[in-house]
């Protein structure tokens, strides 16, 4: 048990070092002078140039620059954007809650939809209910999320005029208004995720339903519904938890597209804005932040798995 946890932590540190190094190298190894990239081709003063060279320690060797950048990053200083003059860390901390809300809502919707569909598929295996839901799941898996998003906009905003197509309302503007602007983007993110989840629940549960303890529960005369949701679903919750963790990373990528589509001021949208404005420092900061979040979430899932699964816990 301790060995597993120690291994997970070692791997975490190695991965974090590698990821930060890669992100840093990507920017640092840009062809040409970084000052040109940052300032663009517009007019510049010597003062600007020397202040950038000083900020980025451009006169130091590459490895030393990496170490000092990493040191700053660990203490929450990801540098300042040269376009907006705002600290990158400040931009990120303003944007994160929005993206987190979308991702969490999407996961909740996906789990809520996937469990009944997956359970139904396993319970009615090879019957028409199963083939219909499997077919629907296949289609849902194949529709890119931005297409789902546009379709939702067309349906709910253009045809029925029920929901706003853009205009993000923060939670401080009232829960109702906030949910109104958050429901379409989270649905768009949730569809593909729900398909992945329900596939997993179905195949997991088909295995579980063949176990002896299910047979004995049936022999005791428990109702099918009770057996399905109380006895058979429990072992699947572990694998479901793992895939929820993994999907979080995929969702962070998905939010980039969805936030741009719905003009939501989250992390992904500001990444796209940074890209369009060639705000290198901000691109670097957001990229490294998303990657680190992704790794941390995966590690937490691994740890929980090690703690919760008796088979791993005992070994």
């Amino acid at each position: 048990m301790l060995k597993t946890i120690a291994f997970i932590f070692l791997r975490l540190i190695a991965t974090l070092l590698a990821i930060t190094f890669l992100t840093f190298a990507m920017v640092a190894l840009l062809p040409g002078d970084p000052v040109d990239t940052i300032l663009g081709t517009g007019p510049r003063t010597d003062e600007q140039v020397s202040s950038i060279r000083g900020d980025l320690n451009l006169d130091d060797p590459f490895l030393i620059r990496y170490v000092s950048w990493l040191g700053d990053a660990v203490t929450g200083d990801l540098g300042d954007s040269y376009i907006t003059d705002q600290p990158v860390a400040e931009t990120i901390s303003q944007r994160v809650p929005v993206t987190a809300q979308l991702a969490i809502m999407a996961i909740l919707i996906a789990v809520a939809a996937a469990i009944p569909i997956g359970v139904l598929g396993a319970y009615k295996q090879s019957k028409w209910q199963d083939s219909t839901s499997s077919g629907a799941v296949q289609v849902a898996l194949s529709i890119p999320n931005f297409i789902v998003g546009i379709f939702l906009i067309w349906l709910f905003a253009v045809q029925w005029n029920l929901l706003p197509a853009s205009n993000w309302n923060r939670i401080s503007d009232g829960i109702g208004a906030n949910l109104q602007s958050a429901i379409m983007p989270s649905l768009a993110l949730a569809l593909g995720t729900a398909a992945v989840f329900s596939r997993l629940v179905r195949s997991d549960m088909i295995g579980t339903l063949q176990e002896n303890y299910i047979l004995s529960a049936r022999a005791k005369g428990l109702s099918d519904r009770y057996i399905l949701f109380r006895h058979a679903l429990r072992p699947s919750s572990l694998s479901l938890m793992t895939i929820v963790g993994i999907s979080f990373g995929a969702l962070l990528g998905g939010t980039v597209v969805i936030e741009t589509l719905f003009a939501i001021p989250g992390l992904g949208f500001s990444l796209i804005n940074a890209i369009n404005g060639r705000d290198i420092i901000l691109i670097q900061g957001i990229t490294v932040f998303i990657a680190v979040m992704f790794i941390l979430i995966n590690t937490v899932v691994d740890l929980l798995y090690a703690v919760l699964d008796p088979r791993i816990r005992r070994s």
Binding site: R11, Q138, S142, V256, V257, I283, T287
Partner: protein, 334 residues
């Protein structure tokens, strides 16, 4: 001889639960007689109807992509397909006349999928757009299958420290959300060339291919025929080349189709964000993005490229799943 003439695959009994049991007779393959491989047409006939439709659709897309490129590169636009970038309501220097089309037309015989906001022929743009998707898919699959397939088979067979080190590196790369890494790479280096974008996507997809091929190579390395080859002193490289890789490939190619679907979606998302190839080159993603501004007037212009993209992804997933099931079946009967 009758047993060797007919197809080996069909003679295995599938018992409920998915395990495959072979009749005892079939374990005795007469020496010197290789079980006949099914022809491509034979495989096609055995497909369920949905998969057949998928193959047919993919074939159409492929032909469309080649046709569009021939039109541009060889025939200078003289093949019967509208110029994808010509604004059909404006003065046309080639004919010396003003076009008669209007922006955002509905489908008609003259313009099969109508026209977009700049009065360009949407059908032609969709056909030309397929070239981008096909290129991205083909380049990344080639990178993945060749580099990822060979490296994965190698480390799965050789094991040892090389494997540990390589797979740890792979884990690090897989720990990055691919779309974000791709965005950062493409934006920082300002890449707009189709082949460079395809290649970057291809490089990023290698780790996943390596994982799949390594897992299969691990399983195959323990099979009797590999042990037998080792016992008679076959060189390791020969075993890898003649025993391991040919048996890893069917599963890997099935995976490649599903991965290609993912890659096409990623390129679609990039185009949609305006970060893929330079405008006005048509791609399905940027067609959707441009048309969404006029969603209130003409939803069709969003719908058609969206449907084409979705059908392509669905078709690749279905065909990939079919081959995956088939190779799993074949693998257990090896």
């Amino acid at each position: 001889m009758a047993t060797t003439e007919s197809n080996i695959d069909t003679q295995y009994l599938v018992v409920p639960g998915g395990t495959i049991v072979a009749p005892v007779d079939d374990f005795v393959v007469p020496s010197g007689v290789k079980p006949r491989r099914k022809s491509a047409f034979g495989v096609f006939r055995e497909m369920p109807i949905v998969v057949k439709l998928g193959v047919f659709w993919l074939f159409l897309i492929f032909v469309g992509a080649i046709y569009a490129q021939l039109d541009v590169r060889v025939f200078n636009g003289s093949l019967p397909l509208a110029d994808p970038n010509l604004q059909l309501n404006n003065f046309n220097p080639a004919t010396g006349e003003f076009g008669t089309a209007t922006p955002l037309e509905s489908p008609s015989w003259a313009h099969l999928l109508g026209t977009d906001a700049l009065a360009r022929d949407t059908f032609s743009r969709a056909v030309h757009g397929s070239w981008v998707s096909v290129t991205v898919a083909v380049v990344s699959v080639t990178c993945g299958v060749i580099v990822g397939g060979v490296l994965g088979s190698l480390v799965g067979f050789v094991r040892g420290k090389t494997e540990t080190a390589l797979m740890a590196g792979i884990d690090v790369l897989l720990a990055f959300p691919a779309l974000v890494l791709l965005l950062a790479l493409i934006s920082i280096f300002e890449v707009r060339d189709l082949f460079v974008i395809s290649f970057v996507i291809g490089l990023l997809s290698i780790p996943a291919y390596m994982r799949v091929s390594r897992a299969n190579s691990l399983a195959i390395s323990n099979r009797e025929f590999v042990v037998a080859a080792q016992a008679i002193g076959t060189k390791k490289l020969t075993i890898l080349w003649r025993e391991i890789i040919p048996n890893v490939m069917p599963t890997l190619i099935a995976y490649a189709m599903v991965a290609a679907a993912g890659v096409i979606v990623v390129e679609g998302a990039l185009s949609f964000l305006g970060l893929s190839v330079q405008l006005p080159t048509p791609t399905w993603g940027n067609m959707i993005n441009q048309a969404r501004r006029d969603i209130k007037i003409n939803f069709g212009q969003v719908l058609y490229p969206a449907l084409i993209l979705t059908f392509t992804v669905l078709a690749l997933n279905q065909v990939g799943d079919f081959f995956q099931r088939r190779s799993a079946h074949r693998g257990s009967s090896l």
